[in-house]
């Protein structure tokens, strides 16, 4: 169980981790499709680049975002002793 004085630093780290995961991800998700038309003149694996990045690229980015979030947040939990006792 977490100690009382650890709660503030724990929540600060958690908040920063949330920002670090969501802000870049949301920025890419919103901005990338808007520029797809200009990127489409390039090719990658035969795909128009804009379409490829908006479909395959965003899936990859989403999976990496969640995976890194899960690992980082688990490390934060353990560092502050906030993890579940198994």
């Amino acid at each position: 169980m977490i100690e009382r004085k650890e709660r503030k630093p724990y929540w600060r780290d958690t908040k920063w981790q949330m920002m670090a995961s969501l802000v870049p991800f949301l920025a890419v998700v919103i901005v990338l499709p808007l520029y797809a038309e200009r990127l489409n003149s390039n090719r990658f694996l035969g795909f128009p680049l804009g379409y490829f990045l908006a479909a395959h690229g965003l899936v990859l980015i989403a999976v990496i975002t969640v995976a890194s979030f899960v690992n980082r947040q688990d490390a934060i939990d353990h560092w502050h002793g906030a993890h579940e006792d198994t």
Partner: protein, 614 residues
């Protein structure tokens, strides 16, 4: 009293069990192929491929029969991350997503990505902002979380009443889609198919509740993935000689876009346009990879964010996070959901590209291909000659009208596979519909029984009463939805979009703030939920009646900011939350320690026992 065991036992044989199920599915496909070659009638083969996997799924549902509330409402809190993620990914959009979004990819290409990306981002947002904390709280429904978080039974009852609306819309959409896909297989009328779908969902989950939803959901998800991957991969190998359809269609896309460029105009949609294909027969309107021809850039971003917020708080997904074995596993299951959803979405997009490639090359020869004639005889396609600059008697791309929802099922026919594969894809679609419908029906039933029926009571009734009430609510909810689906003519995809816009507006700001902002109080939450719901509902109604010149799917654009502003303003104008509530929020934020909902139940039970003893 012995302390609760902290480590919950996860069944170590889950892997083998579901591997057996997956190989049974493959065996059924092989058997149907053999039966077809031996000369069985197509109708019998279709029935075999539909009923055999569904019988296994219903058997799984019946085997999870339980009489304990924590099993019935939270699957015993022992659904590991991979399995949780699988069902999350498939039931987020259900069969409506599978059929209608593939069709949308086929008809409007790039623009349909707004739905797929929205769902994907929704899982990321749910995993980071909400899931771990709701798992730590561990409530069985969203209203009961809100009621406990703000210590307000009124909020619990009101929010329960409001979220029933989007859940019912989603349930009706899934049942309608199940009847459509089932129509290919059974050949019966729409009414019969709707009743059959309702009965299938009821028998699967009546005995086991969320436990049945979890485990039969895994089986359904496996069936969906098998039914989607096998035909698409085979056609991919035929067309591109490479086995990974998601990555190999690049050159194909390039070669058919040259023909498209000759026959289809470049269209540029105005900013807020949202021209999602409906359930009428539609012609190809734009080139596949060119963005913003049917949906304008602002509409694209708005719908994407609406989908994201809607999926992140979807009442048919979020309560199921309570069945994860721990907070860490809850985060991880959203990771798996993102991965599976992304792969399914890319496979759907490649199915659409293959379909376009086949259609474009077939039309370029100047003949009307056989498979389009077959579809036209089923009423799912129409051929208009002499349009779009074609000579009289000839047909070009804009003269082929196709049904959006039939695209995925038509792909094996167009690719020249035997009818077994079309039946397989339709079975997968039925399974996806049942997966979505089962989780929506169970969420509906739990909300009705737990929050509306017993919601105002301080102490929960006994397990037996809770489960019986919830079973009765389940039957009533499904029967009601089947009747509504019979009576109301509506496009399932539109229903899905409206339901997500409503959910996002009603719940997203309040749920996120209830964890990340300590100053929020009960009045703010109530104001946010009621404002978001009413603004979004008004926007949907006026959009649908064409009073507002904006598509109803964009209703989240008004509802979500309205809800956010109402929550912030009302909270700041009313007193700060009590010390007790703040302590409670601090507890939710930390993963370690006892599940708060279970602790509350135990304390209430102790109190009741003491009172009856004294």
């Amino acid at each position: 009293m012995t302390p609760m065991p902290v480590r919950r036992l996860v069944n170590p044989r889950l892997g083998p069990y579901f591997a057996i199920f997956a190989s049974a599915c493959v065996a059924i496909i092989v058997l149907s192929l053999i039966a077809e070659q031996l000369g069985a009638t197509p109708a019998h083969v279709r029935l075999l491929i539909l009923t055999a996997p569904l019988a296994l799924i219903v058997a799984i549902g019946l085997a999870t029969r339980t009489g304990q509330a924590s099993e019935f409402f939270a699957a015993g809190r022992r659904v590991p991350a991979v399995y949780g993620g699988l069902t999350f990914a498939i039931s987020a959009f259900g069969g409506t997503g599978l059929l209608a979004i593939t069709g949308a990819f086929f008809l409007i290409g790039f623009d349909a990505l707004c739905l797929a990306i929205g769902g994907l981002a929704g899982f990321v947002v749910m995993g980071v902002l909400l899931a771990p904390f709701l798992r730590k709280f561990g409530a069985y429904t969203i209203p009961s979380y809100l009621g406990a978080r703000f210590e307000s039974p009124a909020l619990r009852v009101v929010s329960a009443g409001l979220i029933c609306v989007p859940v019912a819309m989603f349930l009706v959409a899934e049942l309608k889609m199940a009847a459509f896909a089932g129509g290919f297989l059974t050949g019966a009328s729409t009414y019969t198919n709707l009743v059959l779908a309702g009965v299938a969902v009821t028998t699967t989950i009546l005995a086991g509740g969320y436990r049945a939803v979890a485990w039969s959901g895994v089986a359904k998800a496996i069936l969906v993935i098998v039914a989607l991957l096998i035909p698409v991969t085979i056609i991919g190998i035929w067309l591109t000689n490479l086995p990974l359809p998601q990555l190999s269609q690049g050159p194909l896309l390039r070669s058919f876009s040259r023909i498209e460029a000759a026959q289809l105009p470049i269209v540029i949609a105005p900013g807020l346009a949202f021209d999602m294909p409906g359930d009428a027969l539609t012609a190809l309107g734009k080139r596949y990879a060119a963005p913003f021809g049917a949906i304008g850039p602002h509409g694209f971003v708005t719908v994407m964010l609406t989908m994201m917020m809607g999926i992140a708080v979807a009442p048919w997904l979020l309560p199921r996070i309570a069945s994860a074995p721990g907070v860490y596993q809850a985060r991880k299951s959203l990771g798996w959901a993102t991965l599976v959803f992304g792969l399914v979405m890319l496979t759907m997009a490649s199915a659409a590209i293959f379909m376009r490639a086949i259609l474009v090359t077939d039309i370029a020869t100047g003949q009307i291909p056989e498979w389009i004639r077959t579809l036209a005889s089923l009423g799912l396609a129409e051929i208009v000659t002499g349009t779009g600059g074609a000579e009289a008697g000839r047909v070009n791309l804009s003269g082929i009208l196709l049904s959006r929802d039939a695209v995925l099922i038509a792909l094996p026919m167009a690719g020249g596979l035997t009818p077994v594969f079309a039946a397989l894809v339709a079975t997968g679609a039925v399974a996806a519909c049942l997966c979505g419908a089962a989780s929506a029906a169970m969420a509906f039933a739990a909300t009705l029984s737990e929050d509306l029926w017993h919601g105002a009571r301080k102490e929960p009734p006994s397990d037996k009463v809770r489960i019986t009430a919830s079973r009765a609510a389940l039957v009533a909810a499904l029967a009601g939805s089947v009747v509504v689906a019979m009576a109301v003519e509506a496009d399932p995809l539109a229903l899905l979009l409206w339901s997500l816009a409503l959910t996002g507006s009603t719940l997203f700001p309040v749920l996120v703030l209830s964890i990340w902002w300590k100053r929020i109080n009960g009045y703010g939450a109530m104001a946010g939920i009621v404002t978001g719901f009413s603004v979004a509902l008004l926007a949907i109604i006026s959009g649908a009646l064409n009073i507002l010149k904006i598509d109803p799917a964009l209703a989240g654009m008004f509802g979500i900011p309205a809800s956010l502003v109402a929550t912030l303003a009302t909270s700041l104008m009313t007193p700060t939350p009590s010390r007790h509530i703040l302590e409670f929020v601090r507890d939710i934020r930390v993963p370690g320690g006892e599940i708060l909902y279970d602790r509350e139940m135990r304390l209430l039970r102790l109190k009741t026992r003491k009172r009856s003893a004294g």
